[in-house]
């Protein structure tokens, strides 16, 4: 294999990484070997060979195909693509310059880094206005002079850093520019994954429902899978072994083992359908439907002022929240649904009346069931401002869940075994 080919493949692999795929060194070496086995005259063969060695999933394969078309384009098309890339680069540069001009403190620019300026340029207009208003108010504050500039700069940098962390992987400037150029938008699926449940449009719903269904199934199988395995080997069941071997005169001929029991707990779904949860109505409804579709033994309850059994109807949304009363009713009336095998999934924003009573009832519920997983659609930064969140967190595993990506994180990180990472 000549150096030029190796070099080109290395650059192509780097492009895939910039787009969010994760081909490692082993995959790179496999791809080189694969290239030596196919006919280079056949574009399709080369593409298939590289795809099967460098892309290890449907999402990666889609990225791969777009990157392949871009990287191995014909001369004229390549020129055209590079020209578009150049124009976009210039536009990005101009946006960064504009950001530097806009973010000023008492007439002086803040001196933000290139990445901070790029993050600012990518913000929604309303967020940019908010930042500017903050700077303007701070600039005109009482006894505020130029010495406060580093303080204001730190605050703005902190805000931009937090925003940047919320960006999906592979949404660095390079991948975004390339993603747009390749017509992928860095993967539309990825964008939907990160979108807040409140911001879902009508056109996103079919894709959203499918994704949620898959995640609900995975969550259900995660919840029901037993992770604490005491023995790797099979355990001898002495009582049954002794009994079944009586017929052989006591010779332990027929060994009986304890079956590795697969724990299939009941799932109890408790959803808040009060007015404050209205923006998340689509998520809650689809989540209930998704779980019902894939798990047969799921008890569903909804609550606002009162507890109701069964999935939510369209007319039921709204009203105040009284979790204390709902839990009271659950413990009193639906006692039969609660046992040490029950896993409770509670979907609510924690905004409720009688928070202390609700916490006390939650404690009672926690004693009756195996685990309570609380999916909170509010962003984690707001949790400190919620009066009862800390009290509730003592008796359950609370996880932030306002987009599909977070739900996926909950599913992947086995919240029922260990806490979800921040």
């Amino acid at each position: 294999m000549n150096d030029h080919v190796i070099h080109s493949l290395a650059r192509f692999t780097a492009l895939l990484r910039a787009l969010g795929a994760r081909p490692g060194a082993a995959e790179f070496l496999d791809a080189l070997q694969a290239l030596s086995l196919v006919e280079w005259e056949s574009r399709r063969e080369v593409q298939s060979a590289l795809r099967s060695t460098l892309a290890k999933g449907p999402a990666d394969a889609a990225r791969f195909d777009r990157a392949f078309d871009f990287f191995f384009a014909s001369g004229a098309r390549r020129e055209e693509q590079l020209k578009t890339l150049e124009v976009r680069e210039q536009a990005e540069q101009a946006a960064r310059e504009k950001a530097r001009r806009e973010l000023v403190f008492q007439g002086k620019p803040l001196g933000l880094s290139t990445s901070d300026s790029a993050t600012y340029a990518a913000l929604r207009p309303e967020d940019r206005i908010r930042l500017n208003e903050f700077l303007e108010r701070t600039s005109n504050g009482l006894n505020v002079d130029q010495r406060f500039l580093p303080v204001a700069q730190k605050i703005i940098e902190g805000y931009l850093e937090r925003w940047r962390r919320q960006l999906p992987p592979g949404s660095s400037r390079t991948s975004r520019v390339l993603g747009e150029l390749l017509g992928s938008g860095a993967g539309q699926g990825g964008e939907l994954l990160e979108r807040d449940f409140r911001l879902l449009g009508e056109e996103d719903l079919p894709q959203f429902r499918l994704a949620l269904r898959v995640l609900a199934r995975r969550l259900a199988s995660r919840v029901s899978r037993r992770y604490r395995r005491s023995q790797h080997k099979r355990i001898l069941d002495f009582r049954r072994t002794a009994r079944s071997n009586l017929r052989y005169g006591g010779a332990m001929f027929d060994l009986r083992h304890r079956a590795r029991r697969l724990d299939r707990p009941d799932i109890l779904l408790l959803c808040d359908v009060s007015g404050s949860m209205l923006p998340y109505a689509e998520f809650v409804s689809q989540f209930i439907r998704g779980l019902h579709d894939v798990v047969s033994r799921v008890h569903t309850f909804t609550f606002a002022d009162e507890l109701e059994k069964g999935p939510v109807g369209n007319g039921r949304w709204g009203g105040g929240t009284n979790l204390a009363r709902a839990l009271d009713q659950l413990l009193a009336v639906y006692d039969a649904c609660l046992n040490p095998r029950t896993c409770v999934i509670l979907v609510s924003d924690t905004k409720t009346l009688h928070g202390q009573d609700a916490a006390a009832n939650l404690q009672l519920l926690a004693r009756r069931v195996r685990k309570i997983l609380w999916l909170n659609p509010l962003p984690k930064e707001q949790w400190q401002r919620l009066p009862h969140q800390a009290a509730f967190s003592r008796y359950c595993t609370m996880a932030e869940c306002n987009n599909l990506s977070q739900l996926e994180c909950i599913v992947k990180n086995r919240v029922f075994g260990s806490p979800c990472p921040p």
């Binding site: 082993a26 496999d30 694969a34 399709r44 099967s52 290890k56 449907p58 060994l255």
Partner: protein
């Protein structure tokens, strides 16, 4: 025979497995590089059939390990035949002889499970590890140890090495994500639902009795069903073939609304899906799609 892509193409064609180069090239690479082939895709797109076809093409045995939750090394790899060992010990005791450890821990007392069978086969077999996504992550880790070296250690017997490296095909329905470590060791292939043209070729190949018009209409109708956003369980290729076979059996030459109504349960296997296509606008749309009038995937 010399392994070439062209040979593989002809062999698959001869076995009636309809596919394009995007599927053949990864299979060819897995064979040439002697790496496991990881095949992912929705249920019923032909993953298991691919392994069976490969075994027929290579004129070799297919050894299948069906995975399930809770599968452990004993079921996948080997077990000692305890009863036989016990009888041997008792017989020796009755005859006044003694049994040494090597006597009862010899290959005669070994119960080989699929992984060990494939390693000790003595010839190049096809090892199908089906629905690997159903196993625990712990078993997956054990599996890629075996797949990287094609050797295993049995404490009482020593290390067993494969005399001929088996062709390993792992399939997954993507019920869960497999580990990067396992993926890294494999050549990856994702099989999507076929296009209308390819599905038509499959129906023609597998059901020569179905007329051209019926085959085309079934392929178009199935494509329409799969592209519907509210369908919960998309029909597989096997279900397409079942549907076409049923229509042939009923003597239907075309897919009219009445035929759809009578046979829809062969292609849709959930109550919600059936209800969706039995109501008026959807049934008519399906019928129109079958005639090539509706919106279908190219």
């Amino acid at each position: 025979m010399e392994l070439t892509l062209d040979w593989l193409r002809r062999a698959f064609q001869a076995e009636g497995y309809v596919c394009g180069d995007e599927l053949l090239v990864p299979v060819y690479l897995a064979l040439a590089l002697q790496k496991p082939l990881l095949v992912e895709g929705a249920p019923g797109v032909g993953k298991t059939e691919l392994a069976k076809t490969l075994a027929r093409c290579l004129d070799t045995r297919l050894i299948r390990l069906q995975c399930y939750e809770g599968l452990d090394e004993n079921k996948a790899f080997y077990e000692w035949n305890y009863q036989r060992q016990l009888i041997r010990i008792q017989l020796a005791g009755a005859q006044g002889g003694a049994v040494v450890e090597e006597d009862v821990f010899s290959p005669d007392y070994l119960l080989e499970r699929p992984l060990l069978q494939a390693i000790r086969a003595g010839e190049r077999v096809v090892l199908l590890i089906d629905e690997v996504d159903r196993t625990d992550e712990e078993f997956e880790a054990f599996l890629f140890e075996v797949l990287s070296d094609f050797q295993v250690s049995i404490p009482e017997l020593g290390t067993v090495r494969a005399q001929a490296i088996p062709v390993v095909v792992l399939t997954s329905n993507r019920a869960r994500d497999l580990s990067d470590a396992l993926k890294r060791r494999c050549v990856y292939l994702f099989i999507d639902y076929p296009s209308v043209q390819r599905e038509l070729s499959i129906v023609r190949t597998r059901l020569p009795g179905a007329g051209e018009q019926l085959a085309r209409q079934v392929a178009l109708a199935v494509s329409h069903i799969r592209s519907h956003p509210e369908v919960q369980k998309k029909p597989s290729i096997a279900e397409t073939l079942d549907w076409a076979a049923a229509l042939v059996r009923l003597g239907r030459g075309e897919l009219d609304p009445d035929a759809i109504d009578r046979t829809l349960n062969l292609v849709l296997k959930s109550h919600d899906d059936l209800r969706l296509f039995r109501v008026e606008p959807q049934r008519n749309a399906l019928s129109a799609a079958a005639r090539g009038e509706g919106l279908t995937r190219p």
